[in-house]
Amino acid sequence: MPVVTDHDGVAMTPHAAPTGGDPYIRLGEILRLRRTHLPQKELRLKAEPESIDDCRIVAQAETTQYHFRGTPRWLAYVDVEEWRDHRRSQLSHTRPPTREDVFAPVKIVLAEHDWPIRAVLSYEAICPTRAKMGILGPGSSLWLAYAALAVLNSAVGQGLYREMLEEQEGRSRTPSGLSMSVLRQMPVAARNAPEGQLARVAHAAHQVTALYEAQEECRADFRNLIIATRERLLGEVCALLSLSEEHARNLIESVRPLPLDDHPGPDPQLMLFGETRDIPPVPPIKFLDEEERRSLERLRRQHKNGGIPSGDEGNWTRLRNLRLWEERLATRPPKYLEQANDREAEDEPFPIENLLGVHLPVKLVHETISGESYEYYPLGEYIVAAPGVCGGRAIFKKTRIDVRHILADLTNGRSEAEISSAFGGRIPLAALKEARILAAQNDPEVFEKRLVPAGRE
């Protein structure tokens, strides 16, 4: 039976923190955990987000394993800040989530009640009313966040939490709120687990999350698929945690009364940590059978060649959606979400009066088109530079089509007739000729630069 040993060769269990090197990566290492408590009844909620400052409010009862249920409601985060400032002295036990946590790119939300532990990984702006919230630290692995999600929601994770709680705090339940110290100590992966195993768990946890989302979006019943995937994931989690078979089975048995979707039958097939380093990828999940696949291909061809016959539109949408979700499920989540330093250099404007082949002075022209004001500097009959349109570069009049793109097309051998027709005649042949003449007299770089204000100065 495989066991994990510490440096002294002593058999370890995931909840016994070692004195030497810890054989487990713990939840507290990968997520910054905080408690949040916010009485939603005192806040003004909205049916839809209206600004970038709005976040989805999630009540504890809406936090289920792997997904949030219920109709989303939103609130402006500034309302939370105002409420906090107003009530700070009166309600010491409340703790609204910080702005940084709510708008963090990745977070795990854990409902406070532990029967069962319910964790959701979300990329949305989320404001939980009563939860523990874990934020992925900069540079941390997204795969480990998915592994944490899988462990926390699994039967073995539920069992481990209870074992550790009993050991550390002498109780087996935390109905009033998950124990922060036990959560931080929860093992997420054995440190010596192969990366391929972590990838498998991350992918399978992503599949489970996506299956719940697909079920909601496609209004389909994927319950059997969800149960099968969760059972497979349970085995993968055992392997990632390097649990002994006996320990894994005991943990699963200890939480049998819990309402979980990944409870295997009486003799579960568990993947246990072996010697192999050749870990196969996660098997794909298919929604479409062969006949539906053929129908989809036929409809795709019809769509390309003119249109979908009336009466087939519903089927076309359904099959296409299911195919899209199959592809999403087959795609492993990114390994890292790195912080980027991606500041592009500010474009230097090119003085319009330095353009060759333009009648000077170029004066601003005002027109009203369909009730909208349109201002531009004419560079010819068809080519203009309009403040605020396409960054102030040279464009074809009354369009958002850059001259630089069309010049690149011409350079690449596309004919003028072809270009004009591709844009539905909005660029007449005479306009293309004008572009060629202007390009012949100026450095091509000029068409990459703004000639007039980009619109936000």
Binding site: P49, E50, S51, I52, D53, P72, W74, F103, P105, S122, Y123, A125, H206, T209, A210, E213, E217, R300, H303, K304, R320, N321, L324, E327, R328, A330, T331, R332, P333, P334, L337, E338, Q339, A340, N341, D342, E344, D347, E372, Y374, A386, G388, V389, C390, G391, K397, K398, T399, R400, D402, H405, I406, A408, R414, A422, F423, R426, A454, G455, R456
Partner: protein, 138 residues
């Protein structure tokens, strides 16, 4: 709904997008054809949950904040490679952080070509906040 900027408004590009995703419209169908960059944001806000795709990445990336009602995808892709646009966006929609409209709304996303052939994804919500990326496009 996917809204294509006017430079991507050729028949073949719209058909490529339409072959795998839902409703595809072009910017001139939603507003007047010569719209300013700022007017585009105003129009997008009126079409809740839409995703705007442009190859004029420099006019949006690092220039606008995200909006909770829509997503903005900036492709660093020359016109001559515009037939790759639908493939890039299609692959982006397979990625976990962007696979649902709710998750990608509020983000400004940029996809750039990369020497190893796998394009990279960058994104932010507000210009003042940190940017994330590069994440390889699946």
């Amino acid at each position: 709904m996917i809204v294509l900027d006017e430079q991507l408004n050729s028949d073949s590009v719209a058909k490529d997008f339409g072959a795998w995703d839902g409703r595809i419209v072009t910017m001139p169908q939603l507003g007047w054809a010569g719209l300013s960059d700022e007017s585009i944001l105003r129009i997008l806000r009126q079409h809740r949950g839409c995703t705007f795709v442009t190859i004029n990445h420099r006019d949006f990336w690092n220039v606008v904040d995200g909006d909770a009602r829509c997503a903005i995808i900036c492709l660093s892709l020359p016109t001559r490679r515009e037939d790759e646009a639908s493939d890039w966006v299609h692959r982006l929609f397979r990625m976990a952080p962007f696979s649902t409209q709710r998750a990608r709304s509020g983000h400004v996303i940029k996809i750039t070509a990369h020497a190893d052939g796998a394009p990279r994804v960058w994104y932010y919500r507000r210009r003042s906040e940190r940017r994330l990326g590069p994440v390889p496009l699946p």
